[in-house]
Point group: none
Amino acid sequence: MTAIILSVGDELTLGQTVDTNSAWLSQQLATNGLPVRAHVTVPDDEAAITDAISNAAAQCECLLISGGIGPTPDDLTRQALAKYLHVPLELNLYWLDVLKDFFAKRGRSMPEMNRIQAMIPRGASMIENVAGTAAGISAKVTAWHIVQWVHDSPEKPLEAPVEDRVFMEEEKCHIYVMPGVPKEMKLMFERSVLPTLREKSSGAVILSKALHTFGQGESTVAELLGPLMYRARNPTVGTTVSAGIVSVRINARFPTKDEAQHHLDTTVEECYSKLGDLVFGEDDTTLAESLARMLRDRSVSVATAESCTGGLLAKYLTDVAGSSTYFRQGWVTYSNDSKTSELGVPVGLIDQHGAVSRETVVEMANRARGLATTTYALAISGIAGPGGGTPEKPVGTVCVALSYDDDALEGVSARTFLFPGDREMIRDRSAKMALTMLRYHLLRKPLPF
Amino acid sequence: MTAIILSVGDELTLGQTVDTNSAWLSQQLATNGLPVRAHVTVPDDEAAITDAISNAAAQCECLLISGGIGPTPDDLTRQALAKYLHVPLELNLYWLDVLKDFFAKRGRSMPEMNRIQAMIPRGASMIENVAGTAAGISAKVTAWHIVQWVHDSPEKPLEAPVEDRVFMEEEKCHIYVMPGVPKEMKLMFERSVLPTLREKSSGAVILSKALHTFGQGESTVAELLGPLMYRARNPTVGTTVSAGIVSVRINARFPTKDEAQHHLDTTVEECYSKLGDLVFGEDDTTLAESLARMLRDRSVSVATAESCTGGLLAKYLTDVAGSSTYFRQGWVTYSNDSKTSELGVPVGLIDQHGAVSRETVVEMANRARGLATTTYALAISGIAGPGGGTPEKPVGTVCVALSYDDDALEGVSARTFLFPGDREMIRDRSAKMALTMLRYHLLRKPLPF
């Protein structure tokens, strides 16, 4: 059994709203072993919705529709479904009573406009909405097969009188219509749709895990994974990139949950054996959260001194709730003067080597750690662009230093990077690289790139 | 001309990633007068991608595809497009050189796997990627019409020798393939795809303008605009919300550019007369850029002292290229101790009023301005959550102060806000509100909310 998810709404095709329903429904279906064949989104246009239902229903056994069942004239999913099914809409008296009651409780009479929310295509059934006024719809698309002929002229079967045939109904596709409002849709899906899908589902279970890395390109990660990424494999292993983070996604599809979990665990282990410390976290874990956990576990602290990133590194470190346990303060020393006045970096040093230099960031990091009396300090100075580049130090040149005093070892390490992209990307990668340098230091491993 | 947006990726149909590309592209197309007929999402499966391209290309004149052009074996959009076009993939030597150069600059040789990123279907052209290694693809789907017969047997036209016919090529659909990484996709769309789409979009001229506001809710902005938002109006006036910014989008659709420009200008003026100073900028202007221009124009400077925003305010101020003209330094005083050690806020004051208090932020702002010797200083202290809230100061309570010394006026103003949402939203709104307080101060107007 495969599924297609259809979202309806002008606000979606106009890009005014990001469709989160499709992702949520896909997760639910995957967890229950139902592969999603496609997502489709169409505007509030009756013909477009009818077409989309018709195309989708021919390609899947389960069509989940959300949106277009509100009370206003631009809500047309009910009408489109009825047209596709070649049946009229009929008033559901039970839901009409529920609606009237809903408004009566609020001291109002039901606006005439809401009557449409109790209309259901003939032959379909109503799905209760526990969080809103729009009733959902459950409709079967069936094919009638003539399985036996009683008539004696087999050459012209279609002309045989109806009473001479034996029919069998076969369900081709089941259509569920739910509200577009995420909260109402989720409640309706969990209460009324999922239980019936579980009954139908062929049994396969899909379990997934994502491993996140930073610092190596997608192709390097893929080379490390090697044959694990072969398409025909189960569990499958794929990679995606977002804001510099290369994520490895592992999906295991097996008849039972136990088998899926076993194979998922085995493949995750194999991925770890290939990627090692490159993986900073799993699933929802961010780079900052992963570092935060390490800092908290070790009861150590970190300060920041930033030039080109202008506060972004400190922002990342404080993205995590409870960051005050390891982060107490930071400096944004954007001008050369402030590097001297706030941190005490000697003017002569900046004059001799430049603000973007190994020497300057080393001094920034050491002095920030001294002033903040923290275990660690991270310093960043670079050319984020678009201006300010030179042939020796082009835009994207960024120096990062880590000053440390832990386990009776005191010192400083520094690296110069050349990041691609625009100002925003360069600043983002610089801050993430600083977090990564500290992460490898805490792992007692050299930076592998 | 209508468009369809196709997103490719297992992570999307499995619901592991929410598709934000389709919404962003839809907004761009809507702003440029191109109606979006549908969004379609399919997994990393060559046959599914080929089918989706084939279905979509038959229904629209512009097909925008994102995703599936990374270097790994699960990236199959190139192959699927070539299959749909019935052509082989060919190596683009220019892009191969760009790739080799990209890796050489990082002291590495190009992994063999990346070679596929320079492969383009025969007859299609390459689109430069300024932020990554995947070249985009621009491909025309054409139909050949026989417009003239030289042959003298019209009853059997298809058997006429080729040299006797006159052909005309008609473009049926233009396909653009872009990376799935949002940043790369956006840059490629803006630089290379949008300009060619603008040329094609024919007939009526659509001119648009967006006016951005911060500080009032969408419904308040809509109330201020009143009848300007009637749907039947031309130019149309609509609102969208993103990261706290409420934008008013005005689209004028008229037969000629002059008419469109005239009506757009008139409606923009009417919107300004309703919204006044609430509008901080137009089109691509961010809140930080709008403030940056004002600070530069007045040759004034600003420093920051942040607690709960942890560097985000300084980050916003330095998002703008050339920010060193008005921003020299900032402090991230996350702990109470650092507010005292770095800024000199008296311990007793914090003990008496708390770190999140009008008294403390006023002191932080005044002292930051004194230390940095700037015209202005902004200070923020608040409870970003999820923990730390009390009945008197619930999560979302944020104090913001502005210390100023300009035009012979010295002083400080402070406000306490209660922002809704999670930690990320509260920090974001706090930083934007601080920028907004300074903006109104520079306008010599009281904050209207």
